[in-house]
Symmetry: C3
Subunit: 275 residues, 3 copies
């Protein structure tokens, strides 16, 4: 992947088109708050969502899905079992899967759950800066910064850079710390994107839905790093386009879904901001 702006935008546009053609089946094991938003974001963008999380079904379904996202919001024992079952299957079958460690750092139950999920080797970890710092700490890595208070980030993305690189090395995966600036690294390569809009933090579940979108892009590229960068590029540019249509959170949510449908490779080429 060429890491200059033009190359990143080009690749993001190509993968957007490829994803829309392939219409990958993305299995979502996500929290109760974000199921609707994640499913609608995938549909709006052109992927095919499947919300299959029960331990009875999650493993079998992973064999049929093109990729998987496991999210630890509203975590409970049954959801964790479903998540582990699906992640095991995905890992064994070589299917890409994305871990969204919502609220990690917030207590022993969730931290232990995240550690158990990490064993199944996610292709990508996507969280806000505070979650990336917390997941590194929980994994026994040195990490700077205090624990988050709730599910919203208390850290800037830059504060997470070194930690994200350590985590990527340690877990052999791509790490994305998203926020006002989005940071993606596989331990070696680093890309920083600066699209998106403040209103994205005023609508619940848009971070969770982003993780599902990363999984959709991972289904159409062998390189999880470029898939993640491309997903973040498309999502951030759509977020910016939506802010030109709506300035308050209710209508912004609607406009954002519309822009996931409307966005083209040309929009990404014209608007992408790489730092």
């Amino acid at each position: 992947m060429t890491q200059d702006r033009a190359g990143i935008a080009q690749r993001a546009g190509d993968l957007l088109d490829a994803m829309r053609s392939a219409r990958p089946l993305v299995q979502n094991i996500t929290n109760f708050v974000s199921m609707d938003t994640a499913a609608n974001a995938l549909l709006a963008l052109g992927a095919s969502p499947a919300m299959v999380h029960s331990a009875e079904e999650a493993g079998d379904f992973a064999a049929r899905a093109d990729s998987l996202v496991v999210n630890t919001g509203t975590l409970s024992q049954p959801f964790l079992e479903g998540g582990e079952t699906a992640a095991t299957a995905a890992h064994m079958l070589g299917r890409p899967w994305v871990l969204d460690p919502v609220g990690v750092g917030g207590g022993k139950f969730r931290n232990d759950a995240v550690l158990r999920l990490l064993r199944h080797r996610p292709s990508v970890i996507r969280g806000n800066a505070s979650e990336i710092i917390s997941i590194a700490r929980v994994s026994g890595l040195h990490a700077d910064g205090a624990a988050p208070r709730g599910v919203d980030s208390a850290h800037s993305t830059d504060a997470a850079l070194v930690t994200a690189q350590h985590l990527a090395h340690h877990c052999f995966c791509v790490v994305a710390a998203t926020g006002a600036v989005d940071l993606v690294t596989d331990g070696r390569r680093v890309v920083r994107l600066a699209n998106g809009h403040e209103l994205m933090t005023r609508v619940t579940a848009l971070g969770c839905a982003l993780s599902a979108v990363v999984a959709a892009f991972c289904a159409v590229s062998e390189d999880a790093f470029e898939a993640t960068v491309s997903a973040l590029a498309v999502y951030g540019v759509a977020g910016e386009m939506a802010a030109e249509l709506a300035q308050r959170p209710g209508s912004y949510r609607v406009a954002f879904m519309d822009m996931l449908d409307a966005i083209t490779a040309a929009d990404v080429a014209a608007r992408l901001k790489v730092l």
Copy 2:
């Protein structure tokens, strides 16, 4: 029920008015993704939703509700218990109930669950063509066509016609296979409707919400066949009206809810397409 276009439209309009006057209490045992959308669709259309699914309460509540819908999306053991308890109660009390076999064909757990629910004699089975073909196969009936990949239909409605008729005979119920063309049969009568819009497939949970709307119409007619045809007529016409207001999935979802509120018998009379 007169099966010509004018007669169907007339009856659909009459039942819409009757349903709005009666404001039936519809018990929903549905998946996590569609609860919000099903409840809002029922409220927009003028019915009264109740989302009561726990095994502790579902049976008692069925005695107070006017009709019931049981949906197998995001299925788990506790939901299945709630669904069976409520379906048993509804059947014993002679209350109409609608089975929405989301994802049937997708594995043993779900297939067994659907078979258990079928024993409680649904008044209506509402699914996409692939689900109708799968439920027939799972029930031991001959059925043409391959199993679906995810929750979206891989079959056209016409492919499901013979299977739907067999299923209706076998289960003594109404079968509705919905899609670009909606097909309704009680084994003897067959109606095909051709309203709706492609954007309805780009918003999650609109199929699930339709099953809830079928349940609302079943509460105001002794004839489950005409109730189902009428519900599909109203829903499809509202879907078409919404597409005149919004062309992308985020705003389409909003417009569709508005049109469920706005639609009148006159709209159905003017726009209904019977094949």
Copy 3:
């Protein structure tokens, strides 16, 4: 709290500003239907939602949250355990918490659950008039009026006045019975507000989200009575403002979220109706 119109409006505006500055972390243990709407309402208004309900985490999290709301819609044993754990913690730590007894009166399981939650001394009980009458009856207090049929109120707010006062005395808490007229009492003081709009009953979960907003206001005032009155004032005025922008339920929901973001102390001062 001065109970004249100007004083109430002034205090509501002050608390709105204080809440937006403090951005309290509100823990939500709420039903599946309302999680998305409650989270988005809190975000739109300027608070910080956290949806943490599992028994494994709810108690620890209550120590970090600024306030808590426990809602009995879609109740199940696991949710009840999470709710009790969190309510115990909140009560012991002196954190305000709001009980939304959705559907109380609807059966033994739910009634028993509400009685168990009441032992942990909520700061505020917020329900519709039928729920307030039912919770009083379930608590062994004399209460007039028949039990509700579903989750929507069968009673006017005025019918609940004497009962609400008894309940407030009995439970040492604030009681709010909301509807076309909102009634708030701590047993001694009584305020009646008359904002809001009929369309609020046509969108699911707006009552549940109101309880979350009451919790957000309780986080910034020692006086749960004035916090509740202020939350209801802001919510009702926002509801009225939204009805000037949208006249059908789909677009009304969007407009209402926008107005929770837009509303200012000046809007409350200009529009508040105190009976």
